[in-house]
Amino acid sequence: MELRNKFLRWSVLLSSLLIAQLAVGQVSYDRILNSKDEPQNWLTYNGGYMSQRHSLLQQIDRENVDQLELKWVLQNQVFGAWQSNPIIVDGIMYVTERPNSVMAVDAVTGRVFWKYRHQNADNALVCCGANNRGVAVLNDKVYMGTLDAHLIALDRINGQVLWKAEVGDVNRAYSVTMAPLAVKDKIMVGVGGGEFGIRGYVAAFDAETGEQAWKTYTIPAPGEPNHDSWEGDDWEHGGAPVWITGSFDPDLNLTYWGVGNPGPDWNAGQRPGDNLYSDSAIALDADTGELKWHFQFTPNDAYDYDSVQVPVLADVEWRGESKKIMMWANRNGYFYVLDRTNGQFLEGKPYVKVNWSSGLDENGRPIPSPQPEGMPTYPGNQGGTNWYPPSYSPSTGLFYFSAWENYATIYRAEESEYIPGRAFLGGGFSVLAPSPGAPTIGIGRTNPINNWTNEVGFASLKAMDPQTGEAVWSYNQFDVSDSGMLTTASDLLFTGGREGYFHGIDAQSGELLWNVSLGGQIVMAPVTYMVNDVQYVAVISGNSLSVFALEE
């Protein structure tokens, strides 16, 4: 009896210890909120709710970056652009593979603990590749959106499916390619399908049950404010997708999202009006989804200038005033600074050649200057930049992103009929090339030979000063780049490009300090983390995820 009691007492003690242990191991909302306190981890898509992609780790610095060496490689088993952003929690890396697999990987050795494969519906449809950009983690679960417009919750320890929720109608070409955003007890995702006449939205789901908590359309219905920015039934299939992970300001309780292009893409005349909230930044209440403010970058867009860039947040002294700002290098060629408490326009300047608009008025609204038919429009269809995540370094005070220079497109608009689940484009475009029939830049790079050359476009990494809206320095590459940015507290900047070089650059001066040829296009941002006092930098190039650390 006594023995039994002892055993009971001991097992109670043990299980309470285990629970405590588990609670520590869990990724609570508080941990994500205070992710700066654990720079060894990379807990959200954009490296924290402010989306600065700035790490406080500084074991790797400007002096020793040239001693980086390859530690391990994980080979993708599926070909195609690998745009996934790894999440790292206490030495475990969660990374997705196209179309919709999740792996839990030992972040020190690259060996895989488990792999979950989602079978998409046969009719899943996306415009630009079977992409997935990664997972969100919250407590004991991992969350992934799917090409057939579902949200899946997996057990973080064994990869078991816990629930699946329908986010959108796959038969109408809704999809999810972004990494979800976990805020408090909810998991938020937006939908893709801007080339198929969807009506976009952001939706939030209960993290435990998968039950939908709220859903906010990016195109207002009749009777709602700004519905009059559409005519007739255009709003029902007007696009405005949300396919890049947003940001969150806990003090304002606002989530921020970039909204994509209106549809049909290239025939603006077919959908008169400003087409709100296409090509806008929107602020949604984190608990209710209620729209608090919007700022539209490109009204009645005819150029596919999705505003799906990451809303990058910072609290700064801005021209002598304490400001809560949002920085935004837009696909339309302008760099913006907004007041994120109310969406007020503070600053906007072109960062590449822009000729679709002759400038911005005092409210930040572009003054249109459409080019005659057959003439090139700058920036071209892929934009001055695109979805690739930028970085803001509080240490240098600079905002870093990939721009495309010297890149233009000739647009052709035509009437397009909306048929559910089918392409809804309204014309087409050709990329301006120096000679007829010459190769041009496409979505992604599949040719090891750059036979289009910098005469069709090239990459410029720009270090923008948000105080002036001007680049302090830029670093050019011969090919264009769809690479995101990573900065560290040691003033290092890591980025890639389509050529497959992985660069370590001085974030202050723009000087190249180290690089290595990884051989495949880098189409996502690098991330950094620390395990057992070793700082690692992970980057995906082509079909390989490569991880570097300093020589031992």
């Binding site: 090139p376 090339a433 120096p434 000679s435 007829p436 029939g437 010459a438 050019n476 011969f478 050529e499």
Partner: protein, 268 residues
């Protein structure tokens, strides 16, 4: 090796590295459009329109509106049983073919030109109809006074310094081939631009660019060697904005013949 010297001697205009300005590209773009202005090497829009009317009236009954009804023949995309040059086409129309299956037509010269123009324009009234001459004569010009074979290799014969043309007829359209002869500066693919490099060891290398990235460049040099350079090892790296050949001095008929010959080059 004399032809190689010739090839590189006429690399006359060098621009500093990586200074391709936007206005320059625009200039190329629009000059290439201007190059499509009519000359004696191609047919007029009037001829194409005239051909369109005659085709509908006289030819479409047997060949069909898209020109693809007769077995083994697709007029619109240029697939014929025996025809190569425009003259061959004229002969078939005026004399008939297939032992009476295709009757002989007594058209005026202008109507005949129209029919040929409409076919060569791919049935597109707004298309460009390039005159296609005699491939046999074209080959003689290519290897002789046209001085093409001094730089271009065909079916394993000739130097490798310029692009190999063995399959060019399968890759390029007649309009593109013609433009390469008449206005090479507007037609050259940017990757093929001639380059001049000087290494730290003071070696000067002339060649044709094969590939390039931010930090390296790959070329085939004037000795037909594949070379790769780190840009940091170069003291000079220049890209010529002009191709190594100037505009041709051949007549309109001769250009048509060379285009005819190039179109027969469809690989081994």
């Amino acid at each position: 090796m004399k032809y190689l010297q010739h090839f590189f001697e006429i690399l006359y205009s060098w621009s500093p590295r990586l200074t391709v300005s936007v206005p320059f590209i625009l200039l190329l773009k629009f000059s290439s459009l201007q190059a499509q202005e009519l000359g004696d090497h191609q047919y007029t829009t009037d001829a194409i329109e005239r051909g369109n009317r005659i085709y509908s009236r006289e030819c479409a009954l047997c060949h069909g509106p898209q020109g693809d009804i007769v077995d083994g023949v697709n007029l619109r995309v240029g697939i014929f049983k025996s025809v190569q040059s425009d003259d061959d086409l004229r002969t078939v129309v005026t004399q008939g073919a297939g032992q009476g299956q295709m009757p002989a037509f007594g058209f005026s010269d202008a109507d005949l030109d129209g029919i040929v123009a409409f076919i060569r324009a791919g049935f597109d009234p707004e298309g460009v109809a390039v005159r296609i001459g005699d491939p046999r004569r074209g080959r003689e010009i290519f290897e002789g006074r046209g001085e093409c074979s001094g730089c271009h290799r065909v079916n394993g014969i000739g130097p490798r310094t310029a692009p190999d043309l063995t399959e060019i007829g399968a890759i390029r359209t007649p309009a593109s081939l013609q433009q390469n002869l008449i206005d090479p500066a507007a037609a050259i693919l940017p990757i093929n631009r001639p380059v001049r490099l000087v290494t730290r060891n003071e070696e000067t290398v002339l060649g044709r660019r094969l590939n390039e990235d931010t930090y390296t460049v790959q070329v085939v040099d004037s000795n037909e060697r594949l070379r790769s350079f780190r840009k940091s090892d170069l003291v000079t790296y220049e890209i010529s904005m002009r191709p190594s050949k100037g505009p041709t001095e051949l007549s309109g008929d001769e250009v048509a013949d060379v285009v005819g010959y190039l179109l027969t080059l469809r690989g081994q």
